[in-house]
């Protein structure tokens, strides 16, 4: 990703800031400008998530994504936040600790890097609660 494209969403990535529709009450992460339920009738506001939730499903990635080779193998999970929405994120712990239904909380970590540009991406990962 380009620097600008990544930086644009830094507050959201660093602090788990998503959106909340005040019309229907639903929370969204990643952030959305339009509520899929209310569409044009929805009024969206920024919402900071607590960063706690549970693992819906997971995998251990052995063949890494580009820029993530140094981290392999790594745990990737879909995490359902307590406020409702689910997101994709890494869980930093031993492979054998991973379990569907386990409680996790968010932490600030390096995500990945692009060797040619020297870019390092930071953002949210998760650890067992």
């Amino acid at each position: 990703m380009t620097v600008a494209r990544f930086w644009r969403k830094i507050p959201n990535r660093y602090n788990l800031i998503g959106t909340h529709c005040t019309t229907c009450g639903k929370h969204y992460f990643p952030p959305r400008t339009m509520c899929p339920t209310c569409r044009r009738d929805g009024k969206m506001e920024a919402h900071k998530f607590q960063g706690k939730g549970e693992v819906v499903t997971y995998t251990v990635i052995h063949t890494a994504a580009k820029g993530y080779e140094m981290q392999a193998p790594y745990n990737l999970a879909i995490i359902k936040l307590d406020e409702g929405p689910s997101l994709t994120g890494q869980v930093v712990c031993g492979q054998e600790e991973m379990e569907i239904g386990m409680r996790v909380r968010s932490v600030f970590r390096k995500l990945g890097e692009e060797s040619e540009k020297g870019m390092i991406y930071y953002g949210t990962k998760f650890v067992p609660e």
Binding site: M1, R5, F6, K9, R13, P30, V56, T57, Y58, T59, V60, I61, H62, T63, A64, A65, K66, Y68, Q71, Y74, L76, A77, I78, P85, S86, L87, T88, G89, Q90, Q95, I100, L111, G112, Y121, G123
Partner: protein
Amino acid sequence: MRDVAIIGIGCTKFGELWDRSFRDLFVEAGVSAIEDSGIQGEEIDSLYVGNMSGGRFVEQEHIGSLIADYAGLASTLNVPATRVEAACASGGLALRQAILSVASGYDNVVVAAGAEKMTDVGMDTATDALAAAADREWEGIMGATFPGLYAMIAKLHMHKYGTTSEQLAAASVKNHHNGTMNPIAQFRNEITIDTVLNSNMVADPLHMFDCSPISDGASAVVVVAADIAKKYTDTPVYVKATTQASATISLHDRADITTLDASVVAGQRAYKMAGMTPDDIDMVEVHDCFTIAEICAIEDLGFFKKGDGGRATEAGETAIGGRIPVNTSGGLKACGHPVGATGIKQAVEITEQLRGTAGKRQIDGAQVGMTHNVGGSGGTAVVHIFSRNR
């Protein structure tokens, strides 16, 4: 809307075709489909091309013009050519656009083609290009790979329904077996459950042999108004349904991770459009980009109850001769998966089956077939139903 029929099919061999260029491939597929149909170039009203990522794989955009040009349809005939993109569902979507343009009455004779040349770049570039089918900003950036997303579907499917790695492997073994009988298939060798389980782990629980390969290839079909089909062939294959559905691009936004909502909805729309049920389908080509994708597909399309796909596959119910043969072509796993070409190749296989020309893969008495083409982790699904009878 008018009825539409397929009257010509063509396909290159699928595989790592080092000596063939992108344009060589689609010209070969297009010419063989046109020859098979008996039409003349002058009769072609328009051309639709499925291609996922010419920009990443061969650093070429403007694929429509390129294909029309090198197929001899541009310089004097000026045939309109439109590239269609929906990640791995690009081919199916190109076919759907071709059918719609004939059904609408706007065109009478249309070529739908699909092409992808994936092996001109390194494996890491190819993998990264494919990862663009997921949400780059909220899946890719977290370290998600394509196998990783489907691995998370598999993990939950196992957890909820007791599906096993052996059951997943059975889909791969069956597709390799079917591939041995398909002259265009990338892999024409038998494998065993152990071949799959002993191959490298890519993303737990998916092994390398649970994953479809990186491939080169092209395929094409000629579709015409059903009323004129018999002018060209004694065995037209009629389009009974063409449907498409969208779902969230990110896997994490789905209500049930083990269900591809787009497949369910596209399937239901197709049955309704054709006035049919899953029991009417004699064989189906599903989008097995990973073994778990085949298991989900046969459930989502209504052939098996959610959760039963693994057991049914292990029991041979989806083999040739089984209750509902799945991926007689060898599927994406064994026939190969040049992404833009796959959706068209599925229609080529069903046409062969309905014509009765599928050789050793032939399903006896095949009357009705289905194709199912998926983009990404399920953000797009395209379903077609074809029949020997109008």
